[in-house]
């Protein structure tokens, strides 16, 4: 589905992480929920990918899918239906033995969750939980593991880490808890770090601290980072590449600067127009996207965004409502892809003449 040369299915890629045509569907009483419906992307070590989208666009389901967490504890009819390929460092995870994936989870790939209070166990001390995460993957005694835990707590900026390791999660403030979560995720030096809305529950001054920490740690450890968020400001701070999701599919992806300065999809225009900007002149009115996100059970035919798109009738023949646009390379760019029926010239004209002046 990309125009970039894609190796044949089943063939290991050269990228560190490559996701190919990932589909994750959940059977429910109301019908099949197509949370992720054909998503492909790749990520190199030392790079940060930002996945942006509204609630229900499938961004969190994607991250849990990469971690292999949808198949855990689900049986029978209710089991999530997953297809596609996930290649991590030359290994294919979808067809791998669950025990093999479990060995990788936490060691090669780790995750930072949105809400540290519910992601940490309230009954064990913070130190004990980090020690456990370390000892699952390393055959060391408790003393060594604790030393490592304290070292990590210190690295993420928790004062008096030696004493704070014996505190319970509720004794930490929100920002401290998120730091402890990051320490837990990093304890095994993972090569892939997935941060799912890592700062959404935090105040803006604490958010700045955590974003700074994630950036520092990435430089230090050289890992690949996926940051999932609905906040365009947060991705602009961290991401090298951006992937915009809508209705379970990627509608636009490319280098961060390109996506922010020359976006090529009407949904991305809508997101940029919807947010008040603190760095720009005061605008009289915001330009919202009309309507609400689509139901993942009953997706609109054709382009999923067409019912909300002000330019749905620009391409001739109502093609937007009958045929789904494929992700295609924007001519003259380096890896900037967009899934829209409008021609490149039409989009460039609308962006420069109608959208950009109002932002």
């Amino acid at each position: 589905m990309t125009t970039a040369p894609v190796p044949a299915p089943g063939h290991p890629p050269d990228a560190f992480l490559e996701v190919r045509d990932l589909r994750i569907h959940f059977p429910t009483d109301d019908g099949l929920v197509r949370s992720v419906d054909g998503l492909s992307f790749r990520l190199e070590k030392g790079r940060t990918l930002g996945i942006v989208g509204e609630s229900g666009s499938g961004k969190s389901v994607t991250s849990l899918g990469i971690m292999g967490l949808h198949t855990v504890g689900q049986y029978g009819r209710r089991r999530a239906r997953i297809s596609g390929e996930i290649w991590l460092d030359g290994k294919e995870l979808m067809s791998a033995d669950p025990d093999e994936v479990r060995r990788l989870r936490g060691r090669e790939m780790a995750m930072i969750f949105q809400d540290p209070l519910s992601a940490m166990h309230p009954y064990f001390t913070v130190g004990a939980q980090i020690v456990e995460a370390y000892r699952v993957h390393h055959d060391v005694d408790k003393k060594t593991a604790r030393k490592r835990a304290v070292e990590l707590l210190d690295r993420v900026g928790i004062p008096q880490p030696d004493q704070r390791a014996d505190d319970y999660p509720h004794q930490f403030s929100g920002g401290m808890r998120q730091r402890a979560m990051i320490a837990m995720a990093l304890v095994n030096n993972p090569e892939l770090l997935i941060a799912d809305e890592p700062t959404t529950a935090l105040d803006v001054t604490v958010q700045a601290q955590i974003l700074d920490l994630i950036r520092d740690l990435q430089q230090e450890f050289g890992s690949a980072v996926i940051i999932i968020t609905h906040d365009l400001g947060v991705v602009a701070e961290l991401a090298d590449d951006i992937l915009v999701m809508y209705g379970g599919r990627c509608v636009e992806r490319g280098p961060a600067e390109q996506v922010f300065h020359r976006p090529q999809h009407p949904y991305t225009w809508g997101l940029l127009g919807s947010m008040p900007r603190i760095d720009r002149e005061q605008t009289e009115r915001l330009i919202p996207v009309k309507g609400s996100p689509p139901s993942l059970i009953d997706m609109p035919p054709g382009c999923a965004f067409s019912p909300r798109c002000p330019y749905a009738d620009v391409p001739a023949g109502g093609i937007t409502r009958t045929e789904r646009p494929e992700l295609a390379l924007v001519p003259g760019t380096d890896g900037h892809h967009s899934a829209c029926h409008m021609t490149h010239e039409e989009r460039a004209r609308i962006w420069t003449e109608e959208i950009a002046p109002k932002l």
Partner: protein
């Protein structure tokens, strides 16, 4: 629609709609069988401000700064510990439930969470019509017709009168909450984080709706939010709160272009800017003008707030006087007040603070 018993003549236009003076709310902490009082959460500790008719006052601050408590105090959902609240010149500080009831027509609230603020077992018609029932008012043309008019006003389909809240999306539910708040044609609407639970594209719809309604109905808003970009977009004047106190109060443009309080400056610099080209390294010390300021640590507990200036524990400008003496909220420029011994414009109110 006429609402009986509402004073028709309004006071002179210059008078503030709402006047708050030295407002304090302490929540007691009790211990043991005898409920001995061992301390207090000093949620709001001495607020003084006015809300002028027709304006939007934005209140911004981090979690735990007391902004929501302030909203509940001025709508009198909470009983103030001390201080004075005047609405249209009338003291409403300690009015009882019955005495407050006529006032409720004029002061309404929009809540943050559109999921928990609507009764799931009532239809939209019942929810939006509840204010009429509670106040014993029959609007012109009947309750049903008026509710349908309100639903149309906030951009919902009036035919959806008989639906239940779960049939609506988050943005639509927030519109239901807004319709309910507007039912009695209030003068003052207090909105506590009205858009923070909504998706970005929906957020813009609701912000624009609030804007249109203000123009159409001549409403006065107090909008409480933590999002500085949203606050800048909606407000005429802005109060910045930190640990139960207002640290800065100014018109929108001066506040965002030339903040006087170090906390305001730190807060503004911490907002992530959606522009990768402007990504900058944050500095721990603010270098020159444009640097990013990274505050250390967290907001202290309001149970035992720091002495003197409450921000001194995290402030890079703090000196010995800051820990000793509390800076008063002084008007340092016309229409621009800040509570700081070392305000950002270079002028030092430390000496003044020492005198008073």
């Amino acid at each position: 629609m006429t609402i009986p018993g509402q004073p028709s003549a309004s006071p002179e236009p210059a008078a503030p709609l709402l006047k708050v003076d030295g407002l304090v709310k302490h929540f007691p902490i009790t211990k043991g069988l005898l409920r001995r009082r061992t301390g207090a959460v000093q949620a709001v500790d001495g607020l003084t401000f006015d809300v002028r008719p027709g304006e939007t006052l934005g209140v911004v601050g981090e979690s735990g700064c007391g902004k929501s408590t302030m909203g509940r105090l001025i709508t009198r959902l909470l009983e103030p510990t001390a201080g004075r609240i005047e609405f249209e010149g009338r003291d409403i500080t300690h009015l009882g439930v019955a005495a407050m009831r006529p006032m409720r027509r004029d002061v309404q609230m929009i809540f943050q969470d559109p999921y928990s603020s609507l009764n799931p077992r009532h239809t939209v018609g019942t929810i939006v019509g509840a204010p009429f029932r509670l106040q014993g008012i029959t609007p012109e043309g009947g309750v049903k017709k008026e509710v349908q008019r309100l639903l149309g006003l906030v951009g919902l389909n009036p035919e959806h009168y008989n639906r239940y809240p779960h049939e609506f999306s988050g943005g639509q539910r927030q519109r239901i909450g807004i319709a309910r708040a507007l039912a009695l044609k209030p003068k003052l609407v207090v909105a506590d984080e009205p858009v923070s639970a909504l998706d970005v594209s929906i957020q813009a719809q609701v912000v624009n709706l609030l804007d249109d309604l203000q123009e159409e109905l001549g409403l006065t808003y107090v909008i409480i939010a933590h999002d500085l970009s949203v606050i800048r977009h909606v407000s005429d004047r802005i109060a910045v709160m930190y640990l139960g106190k207002i640290v800065e109060l100014a018109d929108r443009t001066p506040l965002y272009t030339a903040p006087l309080h170090p906390y305001t400056r730190a807060l503004l610099s911490a907002v992530p800017v959606p522009d990768p080209a402007r990504r900058t390294r944050r500095t721990r010390e603010p270098a020159g003008g444009g640097g990013r300021i990274l505050l250390r640590g967290d907001v202290p507990s309001p149970i035992s707030p720091p002495s003197g200036c409450r921000f001194h524990t995290r402030c890079w400008k703090a000196t010995e006087i800051c820990a000793r003496e509390e800076p008063p909220l002084l008007t340092l420029r016309p229409g621009h007040a800040a509570a700081c011994h070392h305000p950002e414009d270079g002028g030092d109110s430390g000496a003044r603070g020492a005198v008073t």
